[in-house]
């Protein structure tokens, strides 16, 4: 095994660990809605939620990095350039995450000065990590880019997939620089903030997961490189072609000019089209291989990715993306419903698929299967879909009562939050959250033991 693959294992382990912390923090955040006195005066909703969404970003990023560190040396046929530096930075990265989390929990906030932004909390959604840690993330990503681009340079071998990956790493890194400024004008602040958030999740991340899925397909189903590369290019063209200007669906109400209503509505309405193409593609692959694979969990998670991306991004996004609807749906639990479905479908399922692939290689299993992964697959997906459904009910109630009837005042907010539909949605979300958490426990158990317990799973001898 290459050293960079050993590093990949570390990243994937860290990702699964943070996934657990994210789940606990999510349950806490959800609980405040049911019992607002929970930890009052000790640890408030905002801190729990920051932990939830920041660990979500980090575990998915670590999952992507792990996947790429896993596939790349095989792609290049050699160890990655600068691997030693990358190994050191893994510990720095993980250590920094722990320090940031402890500071969030213990210190929580500072005074209204630059020191607070440098060392405690930057207070911008998803990029709350203090500046010192954000610099750390930049360094880690820069070394990661160096590993990829440097190795390509040394070997002179650039496949289509690595070329797309290398080009994608540049905007990925540059957009992250948006995590630093503190712009006083909220309109301008949010304008740039959306470049980061939207152009990450609906553009650069889509390309990143596209590259990872291309390698996975080659391994999982033995699809030829020529095919996956053709499809990767098509995907890049369509997803970025609609997603770049789809950014406008976040510019409706932040003070930006009204032409964004047209541009944002139009381009984001196109966004589901390529996602439908991906569903057709996934079903085609499944069908032509007669669902036969040596790694059923990886295969099912891959399918979940295609469907989740379409449902969470395409259907849930489309429901609220036309400006006339978004005027009322904007900034409600409806948004949360879409956010969970889309992130889960588009990214989390993909990372889990890769992890099962890696385990197959790692433990040299000719066949990866069993009962436990099915339980975790079912509990995680049902838990998530249950949460998303409950959130949609709450979101509808909120949009209806607070935004449309009440006109979004403090009174209207309370009326919306107190409506029985809303309240029951919040309780239901919490219950399905518990199911999700049970699925997580089963997942970890399965990952630790699969291929080690059942004798039917013959192993193909020791690793070479």
């Amino acid at each position: 095994m290459y050293r960079s693959q050993k590093l990949a294992l570390k990243y994937l382990t860290a990702a699964i660990t943070l996934f657990g912390i994210m789940t606990v923090a999510g349950l806490m955040s959800a609980y405040y809605y049911i019992n607002p006195d929970f930890l009052f005066g000790i640890l408030h909703f905002n801190i729990a939620k920051i932990l939830h969404i920041d660990t979500m970003i980090i575990w998915l990023l670590m999952g992507f990095m792990g996947a790429i560190y896993w596939f790349l040396p095989e792609e290049f046929g050699r160890e990655l350039v600068g691997i030693k530096l990358a190994e050191i930075l893994f510990y720095v990265f993980f250590g920094a995450v722990v320090v940031v989390a402890v500071v969030f929990i213990v210190v929580q906030y500072g005074n209204s000065d630059e020191t607070a932004l440098w060392f405690i909390n930057q207070g911008r959604k998803y990029v709350e990590a203090p500046r010192w840690a954000a610099i750390g993330v930049v360094v880690v990503m820069a070394v990661f880019a160096y590993n990829v681009i440097g190795t390509a340079y040394v070997t002179g071998k650039v496949s289509g997939i690595t070329a797309v990956l290398m080009v994608d790493l540049v905007p990925l890194l540059v957009l992250y620089l948006d995590a630093f400024p503190a712009i006083s004008n909220m309109s301008a602040d949010l304008f740039w903030w959306w470049w980061l958030v939207h152009l990450w999740v609906e553009a650069t991340w889509e390309v990143l997961i596209g590259c990872i899925m291309a390698w996975s397909l080659m391994q999982l189903l033995g699809t030829s490189r020529r095919i996956v590369e053709t499809w990767l290019y098509i995907e890049v063209a369509l997803v970025l072609g609609t997603g770049i200007l789809g950014l406008g669906h976040h510019y409706f109400w932040i003070g930006a000019p009204s032409y964004w209503l047209t541009i944002g509505g139009l381009f984001s309405a196109f966004e589901p089209l390529p996602l439908l193409g991906m569903v057709v593609h996934a079903v085609y692959d499944a069908g032509t291989h007669h669902m036969k694979t040596t790694n059923r969990p990886a295969f099912y998670w891959l399918m979940a990715e295609a469907f989740g991306n379409f449902l969470g991004g395409g259907v849930w996004g489309f429901m609220m993306t036309l400006p006339q609807v978004n005027l009322y749906a904007h900034g409600t639990q409806w948004t949360v419903s879409h956010g969970h479905f889309a992130f889960w479908g588009a990214y989390a399922c993909g990372v889990l698929s890769v992890i099962y692939l890696v385990i197959q290689k790692l433990r040299s299993l000719t066949q990866v299967d069993g009962a436990l992964w099915k339980w975790s697959f079912a509990a995680l997906n049902l838990g998530l879909v249950g949460m998303v459904g409950a959130l949609l009910v709450s979101g509808f109630a909120q949009a209806f009562i607070e935004r449309a009837i009440g006109g979004s005042t403090h009174d209207a907010f309370i009326a919306g939050q107190s409506s029985p539909w809303f309240v029951e949605g919040m309780v239901t979300r919490f219950i399905f959250g518990l199911m999700f958490a049970a699925g997580y426990v089963a997942l970890v158990w399965d990952l630790l033991t699969i291929g080690k317990r059942a004798p039917v799973l013959a192993t193909a001898g020791a690793a070479e």
Binding site: Q122, I183, M186, V236, G241, W253, A256, G331, H410
Partner: protein
Amino acid sequence: MHVDDPAFWRAGAISTVSIMSVVLVMLTIDSLAAISPGGSNVPLYTVINQHIDYKFDDKRGNDMPVIRGAEPLFGKAVDAAAAEALIDKGKMVIQSRSCIDCHTFFGNGAYYAPDLTKAWLDPAWETWKIITGTKTREDAMVKFLMHPDKYRIWTRAMPNLDITQQEAEALVAYLKWMSAVDTNGFPANFGRMQQKQ
């Protein structure tokens, strides 16, 4: 080049992405002018010296801020530099306390607490004036922000975030300025329910 050739699709990908990126950059340049203070959509910071309202505009077909007449904040007009200092400070308080991880600004953030886009205009301050024993809206806001747990009017309370008098005043200035931003009609029907009553 032919559709069977990956190079065909690669060329397609490169050209679409380039075109879209160029269009985005052009629109961004235009938008940045509109959203800088004093641009077509975002008022100068000195708007805090004026009276601000939010009314339905028949021509545009949506709600819009109406800025008319003098109404200095805390009773004393400030110059451009002082206004900017207040707004800068206000934003620092917002970031350091991560208000946006409970509240939304222009509908962006977290959904645990009310949207603050038009908080300055919220009829609820009338209630808070009584509870805090203050005469003006801005004084009620300052008192509330400094001790939100003491003046809670709902089961879900805002915690005390150690906000000083000076910080609270900057926040009030910030919220007042924000309510004057033209948000294309979001939120719709603001305060309409109360007016009907």
